[in-house]
Structures are given as structure tokens and as C-alpha cells.
Amino acid sequence: MTPRNLLFTATSALALACAGGAQAETFRLGTNGDLYGLDPHSMTDSFTVSFLNHVYEALVRYDADLKIEPALATSWEQIDETTVRYTLREGIKFHDGQDFSAEDVVASVKRAAHEDSPIRGNIAGLVDAKMVDEMTVDLMLDGPNPLLNNFLTNVLIFDSSWLEEHDALDPIDAQKGEEGYTTSNANGTGPFRFESRTPDAQTVLTINSGWWDEPQHNLTRIELNPINSDATRVAAMLSGELDMIFPSPLQDAKRIESTDGMHVLEAPGLRAIMMGINMSDKSNNPNQDGNPLQKTEVRQALVHAISYDLLRDKIMRGKSRNLGGLVAPQVPGFDEGVDAIPAYDPELAKKMLADAGYPEGFSLNMNCPNDRYVNDAAICQALAAMFARVGVKADLTAETKAIHFERARANETDMFMLGWATLPMLDGYSVLSAMLHTPGGQMGTWNPGGYSNPEVDRLTEAVATELDAEKRHEMMVEAFRIADDEVAWLPLHAQPLSWAARDAVKIPQTADDKPRLWLARIE
């Protein structure tokens, strides 16, 4: 790499010239992990994709309130049940100067839906893309799909001639043992262009002064500094080496707040933390015959054994939002009624357990990750203690996520922790299809406990293809209500987002935990 000072001087000079004398603003972002690479089609890591969204764009995007708005496409219409026509925005150029056209959309959609593509699962049902004319594209689906635009926010668009030139039209095949060109190079239409990258050290973006949209930001350069260690990341923030860190550890919030010139941004996010329940015939606990959790009455009793407020105030330091249902308020499918928090009443829980035939309580295995969610292991310890008060003995195992999820998926436990943000779909259907539908085929992929209710299945399948938004919402709420009544899962809370920034930084904190720096200003 050439000395950075030189490059920096050159780019700032260029940016200055373009911005007509505005001050050059560098945004130094500290994160808890690096990008996996620069190819948004090569992995499903949501942070990587969201950061690459500064360089690459999609046909549609979410605004700061997580509503769909036009991006590279200006409008779309449903032509028939399985075809949607997109009209593209005129006059957009890629960073290398090539014009944006329908060919690029077709090549990118085909690349994302290719059978070797790791993100194929995120756009299930998208069969093909056809060019109608220079600025119009038809997307073919295998059936009516109300969530197509939600999916498309994640299908970032490449320049087809650039892909072709670098032999990258097909997705990177990890098994070929060679490095894909797109892993270390990028060429999009976004508000920032890729400048340089040293893995695990720094990735630099500079302003794309030819961006099609009216910039709301005043940045000229973005430096992404991954700092995995929480303590070091906070120290770098406190010492003024960074403008913003994300995530900011909950336990350091006070320290940051008490420092002049910086503050913590906190809000409950989309990710719902919940406990999955084994409903098979056999408990996985060696001291327990049969499986008490199979009885709806037993599960309903356990709900009253949990003190939601205590979990929020003591374990989550008051920063989480209690959830009575399985989705956060921002997610379509949320309903106030379903969200009502059950009363904390251990005596009632004991009585209900006795009525269900377990006056002495019972034993179960509980499994938790200890490196995946905010305070995950501590939440489970508190839960186990609360269950103990009503006579239910939970044998808790907290272990690393790679093992935890494998165990949970194989139903080797009786109760396991799972967090679900519904991303990239951002819709209640994500929960219905993956976690509540009876397992089989594409459905119930995260329903290892085996919850099954024909009415929920029917509603889920109807929701999948219903294009009328209002009807669709009602069906989702109905399905969630049934699941809530039968305690298919034990919802706990919406996990808090925690960022920290200098006071000079103005940035909307979006509930999906993805900093959008094209909406950020340094004042």
C-alpha cells in the first residue's frame, strides 16, 4: 500500500473540489468484527452486507423507519401472479464510470439466485430475471410473493460488464480454492466508493460525488476499524480515536455517558430473544420420565413463573423491551393484544403445575449460548432460578454458539435460547415459516421442538402468498395468537441496540442494528 497520508491528501483534495469548499469529514467507525469480504453475494453475515450497502445498492432500500423506498428502481408493478416489473432509474453510473442498466440487474439477480450462491436461501422463490428493455426488468417468481421487495433490499447490484471482465459472473465457489476477484475489489453505485482494505485492520471508503441521490450526509470518507475486544473498543472511543462504536457494551454505558463530548445511543431492536421448547414424547433430562413440556397446561404455568420486569431491570439494565409475543413492535405481524405480558405469579404457576399433574415440579435441560446475544448466559441463569421457585429444576448448560445451535437444532435439549430478528425479511412470516410451522421441507427449519398446530400451518401457508396487506396482517396476528395461547415458544424481550458516538455525530439509530452512514452527519 502506498503511504496513506498521500492518498488521504489526494482524496480529500478531490472531495473538497467536488463539495465546493465544504469541510472534509472523516467518519471513523469502530465495530466488533471485520467484514467477511467485499462480495455481498458470498455470505449472509448481516453486518457485512449492511456495510457493503454503502458501496453497492439494491433495487429498493429501507429508509430510517424501515419502510421500503425506491432506490435503483423507481417503480414496480405486479404484472401477473408470478411476475413483477421494475422500472429502473435513469442516469446512474457505477463507480468505474459504466452506465447502470437492466443487464446489470439481470446478471446480479442470476448471480444471487445461482445454485452455488450462499444467499440463495434469502431470495427463495425468485426463479429468473428477464430484461424487457434497457431500463425495465421482469422478475419471475414461483408464486405470488408479498415479501419480494423485502428480499430485494439485500440483492445488491453489480455491474455486469465488470463482473464479466473479471470472470466473476458466477458466485465465488469456496471449494475451487481460488480467490474471487470480488472478495477484494468492489464497484457499485452507492454513496461511497471502495478505496482500500487491510483485513482485520481497516477498510476505507471515500465519497462518490456522482451519487444519484441527494446526499443527506456530509462525510467525505469512512474508516471502518474492527476492534473485537470490547474493552479496547471502548478505550479507543474514550481516547477520541473513533467517532462511533457499534455495538457499545452495556456495562460501559455509564463510563461513556460520563465522558464529555460523547453519548450512548440505546433503543430496543428487532431481535426477539426467546426460549424454544422440546415437545417430543421424551425429555432429554435423564431424571425425568416422559415430557411434561408436551402438556400445554405445563407451558402455560411456566409463563407465570417468569418475572419479565426483573429480567429487564436486573439482567438487561433496563434497556430491553419485554415481549409477550414473538416479534418486536416494528415487525409486521405485531399485535398489542398478543404482546401483553403475562402476570408474574409463582403461586399461580405452582398451582397450575399441580393441576397439570406435577405438584412436585419436574426436571428439564436448558441450553444457552454464552457468546451470541446480549447477556445470554446471565438471562438463562436467572430463568433457571425463577423456575426453581416453582419447583422446576433446570439443568443449565451455557456454551459457545457453534455448539449451542447445533445441539438446539438436533433437539438435544428441553429448552434453548434463540434470538430472531426476522432479518433480512423483516416480516412476521419469517417466524411463522421457520419457527411455528410443522417441520418439513422448506418449513419449520427452526422448529426443532416440534410444535405443530394445523390451524397455524394453514394460516402460515396462506400468509406466504397473500398480496392484500391488511388480510395478510390479520392472518399473521391470528397465527401468533394461537402460538401465544399454546406457548409454542417462551418469548422474553427485544434485545437492546447499543451504539456510542461523539456528540458531534448525528445518526438515526435504526432498529435493525445497521448503521446507515449515508444518513449521518458530523457537525
Binding site: G121, Q175, E179, A231, A235, F405, S433
Partner: protein
């Protein structure tokens, strides 16, 4: 000498084979790499296809055999996480670790030996007593605590030194160096101190103990009786004999420095091999982990071989065993 080297090479190959097989047995308990590669809601079918494609369905022995055959040809496979060849990743990270270890080792030697000599020659001085106490702290306080304390003092409170990263590095094509820029040198200071502290105190205590031992030896007493000046006595006769065991220990510790660098690199976000390894562990990135462990075991064997060779050079008695005695 030649036979000795051949023997060492065979030993090295054996050590690396054993390390690779232990590594492979361990990886089975690290979890499923697939869970990091596919989205949370991937179907069972997607998972099975992915496993099949990556060869994870084969028995461990087959996977191990494939790894050994490829590795023997210099191919360590492709990183699951980075989508890049493992050998490229390691080559890219090696300079960062090498420079850090080099500076830390020099620091440990340059400070440890003089301090050790000083405390041995003035065992009752208040400075020596003080140094002894401090060295105890250096040995017993965990290195990540020292690292975080250093950051707190020099980055957060004083604002003198950066708390993370390597600063600006200069790319020489086959090597990236932080030695040529001010920010690169500044970034080196804290991590190097953190890494060196344990070794430094160890060397200091070792030199002190050895030196005290040697100073009690008969030949020193004779030399003293013959009126050889103290300065010559201490630095020419005593020190030389002190350094032989120190050299052995230091050689072994140098491998330890590379291993300890994992913690230092994690605390300071130092983009070296150790950091790469930690990330690979978190991601269950088996090819990177296996290659790193094999490489580190190779480095250990090389360092030990070099130390043995140096030992031969430094201690005439060892040479005498093999070559017929001359004179005397």
C-alpha cells in the same frame, strides 16, 4: 552436524503430523462450521448440500488424510470465513506477528539481562529489592490485564499512544512493515511492552539467579584471588557462563512469545497470525486453525534446533564430547 540436521527435519515432520492429527480430533468438538456459513433459517436440505460440498460428511480420517496430502504440497485449503486461500492469509499476517515478537524479544533481552546483572551484583540494594518485587508482579499479573491497564493509562488518560491497530504500514511487496512510519512505531510500543513484560521479568530473575550461582563458583574465587579487576571478572568470566542456560530458556520462550502474541493481538486488534487464529476458532474455520497450529509447531521446532546449534557453539564442552580432545 549433517546427521543432526536430518534427524531434526524428520522430528519436525513427525511433530507437525501429530499436531495436525490432534488438531483434527479437537475440531470435532468445536461445533459445526455450517452454522456460521448459512443463514439461521436455512433448510435442512441446504445444510446437507453444503456439508456435502465442503466434504464435511466424510469420516474424520478421510478429511485428515486429505488435509495432510494437500498440506504436503503447500496447499492449506480455503478459509471458510474469508473465502481466500489460507496460505495467503497466513503470509499476509506473518509480518505483523514477526515484528511484534521481534520488538518484544529485543525489549525483554535488552532490559532483562542488565537488570538481572544489576540485581545480582547489588543483591542488598534498595533498587534491587524494588525490582525483585516488581518482577514478581510482572510474572503473576495476567498479560491481558497489563495490556488493558497500559491502554487505560497511555491511550485513554494521557492520549499519547493509539489503543489499537498497527498504524500506517508500508508495503514492501512481500512484507508489510510498521517500522518506517511514526504512527507504525507508536502503535508498536504498547503491545510490545505487554508482550515483553513477562519474558523480561523471567529473564531478569533467571540471570540474577544464575549469576549469583556462578559468582559463588571456585574459578571466580580463584580469579578474584589473582587480582583480576571486578569489572572483567563480572562481565567477562561470570556473565558468559550465566548466559548459556539463559539462551536455552529464551529460545524456548521465543516460541512462547509467538503463542502469547494471541492474547496481545486480541487486546490490541493487532492484525497478526494469532488474531487470525482466534477469529478462526470463533468461526470454526477449520482450515485456518489447522494451518496455524501446524505452522506454529514448525516454528517451535526450528527455534529449538537453532538453540541446540547455538548451544554447541557457546559451550566448548559439548563440542568436546563429539570431537576427540585436543591438547590438555
Amino acid at each position: 552436524m549433517f546427521a543432526f540436521l536430518i534427524r531434526r527435519i524428520i522430528q519436525a515432520a513427525l511433530v507437525m503430523l501429530v499436531v495436525a492429527s490432534i488438531a483434527f480430533l479437537m475440531f470435532r468438538f468445536l461445533g459445526d462450521p455450517i452454522s456460521n456459513l448459512l443463514p439461521e433459517d436455512a433448510t435442512v436440505q441446504d445444510r446437507t448440500e453444503m456439508r456435502e460440498k465442503m466434504g464435511l460428511n466424510d469420516p474424520v480420517l478421510v478429511q485428515y488424510g486429505r488435509f495432510i496430502v494437500d498440506a504436503a504440497q503447500g496447499d492449506f485449503g480455503q478459509s471458510y470465513r474469508n473465502n481466500r486461500p489460507v496460505s495467503d492469509l497466513l503470509a499476509e499476517r506473518f509480518p505483523a506477528t514477526a515484528e511484534l515478537v521481534l520488538v518484544a524479544a529485543s525489549l525483554a533481552l535488552a532490559l532483562g539481562i542488565p537488570l538481572g546483572i544489576y540485581t545480582a551484583l547489588n543483591p542488598r540494594g534498595w533498587l534491587s529489592q524494588g525490582l525483585q518485587v516488581i518482577s514478581l508482579l510482572g510474572i503473576s499479573v495476567p498479560t491481558f490485564v497489563t495490556g488493558i491497564l497500559l491502554i487505560l493509562v497511555f491511550s485513554v488518560s494521557l492520549g499519547w499512544l493509539p489503543s489499537f491497530g498497527r498504524g500506517t504500514v508500508v508495503d514492501l511487496g512481500w512484507w508489510t512493515t510498521g517500522f518506517l512510519t511514526v504512527s507504525g512505531l507508536k502503535a508498536l510500543i504498547l503491545p510490545a511492552i505487554m508482550l515483553a513484560l513477562f519474558q523480561m521479568t523471567l529473564i531478569m530473575r533467571l540471570v540474577r539467579a544464575e549469576m549469583l550461582e556462578v559468582l559463588r563458583a571456585d574459578y571466580i574465587k580463584f580469579a578474584k584471588a589473582r587480582g583480576i579487576p571486578n569489572r572483567m571478572l563480572h562481565f567477562k568470566y561470570a556473565l558468559k557462563n550465566t548466559l548459556i542456560p539463559v539462551m536455552t530458556i529464551f529460545g524456548l520462550q521465543l516460541g512462547g512469545l509467538i503463542a502469547f502474541a494471541i492474547i496481545t493481538e486480541t487486546v490490541f486488534q493487532w492484525p497478526g497470525m494469532g488474531f487470525l487464529f482466534i477469529q478462526a476458532v470463533n468461526f470454526t474455520d477449520v482450515p485456518v486453525m489447522a494451518a496455524y497450529l501446524v505452522l506454529v509447531s514448525f516454528i517451535f521446532v526450528v527455534i529449538n534446533t537453532l538453540v541446540d546449534l547455538l548451544y554447541n557453539v557457546a559451550d566448548p564442552r559439548l563440542r568436546a564430547e563429539r570431537t576427540p580432545a585436543r591438547g590438555v
